[in-house]
Symmetry: C2
Subunit: 316 residues, 2 copies
């Protein structure tokens, strides 16, 4: 099957069980670049080990190349992010480590809990609300912080899902918004006349401007993603407009972040808390599973067609 | 002189010693509005009192109407912000309470210490660097946090001042910048090739865009003022452009604030720390003093002509 072997201290052999396809990978694929293996988030099982932290049978989440069997040494392990899923998943539930217990979960957790710093009963607006991250932000806001939760996503099916399955109070079909940021802001205010305390930004463009137009005093915006710009090879997609003077007397804050500090354990208690909330049925992540490594390109492309509901995983 | 008298509990009679003229007041003066007394920051002495917190002889800083003698009751005191300067000023040094120990000092202190959260040796860019707030931010950055400090202000005289008197490492004459944000960013990088960790925003416009273009990972922007928009009665002054996607992987933060929490004592230890730093010669505030209440309009207008250096005060 393979001639890979653990030889040095800390070496380990990882058998990858599943891989993730995520929008952010798009910005790493520039046309004309020298080909190299795609990397991303994977979950695997340790099948050979000279590493005390990772005995045989452990489950690892990590950012690694998309290949089925990997010999990892101390140098590789030091350079990549990894998290120990042994207490939390089995071979059958390994895809949880790509969702609620992986990058999207850590993104929702870190961005909502530590960047937005919610107070009970506040109002939040979430874009890409039917996606893995957005839907978990909505669930945390609703089920842990009792927030008024407004989501935006594209199409009737997704809008139905976020209300019925994830408990959003308001759902806005952004594809039906033809009047830009102004119309979107009006729709947000139809769900919360006083505006919003928090905005979880996944898309950019008119969503950002509409959210800023609705943002209350002491409002916070967490910039998590900007999918509207990822496919813009020309760099010509319009920048956002902002009136920074609105932020002064209102003490408003805009903050960018990625999941790494929470996923890697430097901040917060991500695995422990999210796993508990998941078991209590308070937060979950829809999965859209493709079977076989050869389905990766289709799985990836599906992210940009607005076709999927939830986290896209590819099982080996 | 007056028929005002303290009659009820908590009443006090304040004799105003000096008043402040500040750019932010511009946005409160709309053409065509029903006339009302201007209000702003004043320092005065308590000359009669039924208020235990403010015995006769106390010095009060407060936001109040610009009138020489004021009877304040508990209702007025509850609605306005005030701070107790008795330990820190005398009749002769009362104008300190409009500068280093007043709104500009609390703005510099709160914005720099608590909003920007500096680390020793970081690089900061400050706009309106010769102004009361900007010059104090520069001094705090240089003398307390050993930062590399770059300032922007208009004209050779001010640029000389911030380097020679306030110890700025780099000084940029924004009036000589004809190529917009791009040229300004280039000038910032001439002083710090690696960019900036912090930006203290007083003006908006090209300064904001240049600062964002130079902002390093984990960079912070404190939005304190936006003087470029205050005189824009039409609302037609162009908004800023922003690429929010630059903030994601870099964990950048933009945050608006005003001085009230620090000035009123809800946050930090403003009076105690700034007064100590002032006595140690680490932070001070240039004063431009007009004599007589009738000079207020001239004093105010001078703020927008780029004529003054430092805090504009009017002595009664």
């Amino acid at each position: 099957m393979s001639n890979k072997k653990c030889e040095k201290d800390e070496d380990l052999l990882l058998s990858v069980i599943c891989m993730s396809a995520d929008p952010y990978l798009r910005s790493g694929c520039k046309t004309g670049e020298i080909p190299r293996p795609m990397s991303g988030f994977v979950v695997g099982k340790i099948i050979e080990s000279k590493n005390k932290a990772w005995p045989v049978g452990s489950f690892m989440g990590a950012a690694l190349p998309f290949s089925s069997l990997q010999l990892l040494n101390s140098e590789i392990l030091a350079k990549t992010i990894s998290w120990n899923l042994t207490e939390y998943v089995t071979e059958e539930t390994a895809t949880l480590g790509l969702g609620v217990l992986g990058m999207p979960g850590a993104t929702a957790y870190g961005g909502f809990i530590d960047v937005l710093r919610p107070k009970k009963g506040e109002t939040i607006f979430v874009s890409s609300a039917a996606g893995a991250v957005g839907s978990m932000v909505g669930q945390l806001a609703k089920n842990i912080y009792d927030c008024h939760v407004i989501g935006s996503c594209g199409g009737a099916e997704k809008n139905k899902l976020i209300k019925e399955k994830f408990g959003f109070d308001g759902a806005i079909d952004y594809k039906a918004v033809t009047g830009g940021a102004e119309e979107l802001a009006k729709k947000i205010k139809e769900s919360s006349a006083a505006g919003i305390d928090m905005y979880f930004e996944n898309v950019g463009g008119m969503h950002f401007e509409a959210a800023m137009a609705c943002l209350k005093a002491h409002g916070r915006v967490a910039i998590c993603g900007c999918i509207s710009r990822y496919n813009d090879a020309s760099g010509a997609a319009p920048l956002n407009k902002i009136d920074i003077s609105q932020m002064i007397y209102s003490f408003q804050r805009i903050e960018g972040f990625v999941c790494m500090p929470w996923l890697g354990g430097a901040k917060g208690a991500f695995l422990k808390e999210m796993s508990a909330w998941h078991k209590q049925g308070k937060v979950g992540c829809e999965q859209c599973i493709f079977e076989g490594i050869e389905t990766w390109p289709d799985a990836f492309q599906s992210l940009f067609m607005g076709a999927n509901l939830g986290k896209v995983c590819i099982k080996m």
